[in-house]
Amino acid sequence: IAGITQAPTSQILAAGRRMTLRCTQDMRHNAMYWYRQDLGLGLRLIHYSNTAGTTGKGEVPDGYSVSRANTDDFPLTLASAVPSQTSVYFCASAVAGGTGELFFGEGSRLTVL
């Protein structure tokens, strides 16, 4: 039972490069989310999707884009990475309209130099 799978686990990236973080879930959850977690801080929502084919902006969407072509996959793209995007990125999924129980992946640590 995989749950939420993120890739890569870790990546070092030069500023200006394009990067896509992958996220796949096998729980058939409608809703998916991308959060970033910075040193000592809580999680901040980047983008979300309540169902396949729809996406929305979270608290910190600038510099990021997402797509939701199907239920299982929710990739996060940095079109032109900047050092302030150095962070740990967590993908999560949930039953849409639920109470807030999110299932998180193990995270992708991204360093932008």
């Binding site: 801080l41 999680l43 901040r44 999110l102 299932f103």
Partner: protein
Amino acid sequence: GESVGLHLPTLSVQEGDNSIINCAYSNSASDYFIWYKQESGKGPQFIIDIRSNMDKRQGQRVTVLLNKTVKHLSLQIAATQPGDSAVYFCAENRHNAGNMLTFGGGTRLMVKP
């Protein structure tokens, strides 16, 4: 300047003692309040939630208390064990904001053997 968020509040308890982790929230319109546990190098994991119309909910070794008057949430862990060592986050679910979670900054719990 340095963000105060870089230094997580830390609670240090003796193994076997009870732990109380506190959280203040801001939005009186939130419907659900949730506690997550994050172990080092892993994604957050759901512990327990509570609806806004309740003031107490118990789980296995954990109890969540909600005081809406002062917008305060607490997580009580009975007979704390070394495996409880982690960072604990509270989150609020605002249905009027698209069913998205807003996380607090987190508290680090350290259990001394």
